[in-house]
Amino acid sequence: MVSAILGKKIGMTRSFTEDGRNIPVTVIAAGPCVVTQVKTSASDGYSAVQLAFDDAKPRRTTQALIGHDGKAGASPKRLHREVRCESDKDVEGVEAGQTITVGSLDGTKFVDITGTSKGKGFQGSMVRHNYKGMCASHGTERKHRSPGSISSHGTDRGRGPKPKKGKGMAGHMGDARVTVRNLDVVSIDPERNLLLVKGAVPGASNGYLFIRASKRLYKRKARIQAGK
């Protein structure tokens, strides 16, 4: 059983509960996905299921992809993602060509959603790393938004006077793979292949998303799942 699916962000709206609470929801067109490949430890050294989503125009795709998806009896797809499984047992009963719909997430309370965040271009350290910048006054000139000192001779414990690895600096921000964990599933509509989750998901509308049932829960959500 694969508890993951591929989808596309449609957009956000709000949903009211019966007692009038307002929930911000993201609408996701989730699936239907086709299993295009099943990997086992015998065949590939590990177990996984490859899912594919969203039809591609054959004219705009490659022969390799047409052949690959054709093996599973599917038309060429635009998005392929692999779902790792712990053992071969998990992939038993899953066959190439099989369709996976959002109904497979039925009963799931929390999902992790991976997407590509919106690109923000080249941003300074205040925007990109939440640095505070420099003083507005006290003699500060032309450095109000600068990151300040990035290193000294003393940093990096004798490995030379250079900035530490991972020092936050200005640079390209966004357009990166981002996972949001433990989003509440608000509702699932298998007939229309829709998934509604509480809160925002990475990326712009029409962006591709990888959705899987949460494996590790935040403490509060773990308590909810355990029934408090």
Partner: protein, 169 residues
């Protein structure tokens, strides 16, 4: 089905139909019956005031209602399609020449009043447009300052609307 249509169809069930909501416009004096949940108790409170702004479309629609409580302006924003908004009644219709009546915030005394729609032929036109079912049976005199709770006996609510009476501006 494009994206907007999908989103609209998802929330279509939550949107109140035209018969549940009266035709409201900016400038109207409205009674908002809002359910308040305290612990396991539930009661309905009536908030009467001038509708000064309408924002959002579809399920996101919200209205801003302004009234004067103890000489202090109070504005509340209500999501129109929330199940907590039990009822919406138009007490009085008035002319507004702006889409947002934020200028009322700077006004005090008589200048806070809005011109009643029930004058000249406009009033008849409006009723013709709305048909017979229009609930604009507000105070005939019209020219009074707005909160004044003109129909306390009609609202006939339990304890909840103590405030409405206390509002002698």
């Amino acid at each position: 089905m494009n994206r907007t249509e999908v989103i609209e169809s998802v929330v279509a069930k939550q949107i109140k139909s035209a018969k549940d909501l009266p035709r409201i416009t900016v400038g109207d004096t409205v009674d908002v019956h809002y359910k308040i949940i305290e612990g396991d108790k539930e009661r309905t409170q009536v908030f009467q005031g001038v509708l000064i702004a309408m924002k959002g479309r579809g399920v996101n629609a919200v209205i801003t209602v302004r009234r004067i409580v103890a000489n202090e302006g109070v504005e509340r924003v209500f999501p129109v399609h929330s199940p907590r908004l039990v009822r919406l009644e138009v007490v009085r219709r008035a002319d507004a020449r702006r889409a947002k009546l934020y200028y009322l915030r700077d006004r005090s005394g008589k200048s806070r009043r809005l011109r009643d729609q029930r004058r000249g032929l406009k009033h008849f036109e409006a009723e013709m447009m709305a048909g017979a079912g229009d609930s604009a049976d507000g105070p005939g005199a019209g020219g009074e300052s707005k909160p004044r709770a003109p129909k306390a006996e009609k609202a006939a609510k339990p304890k909840g609307e103590k405030k409405a009476k206390a509002a002698k501006a």
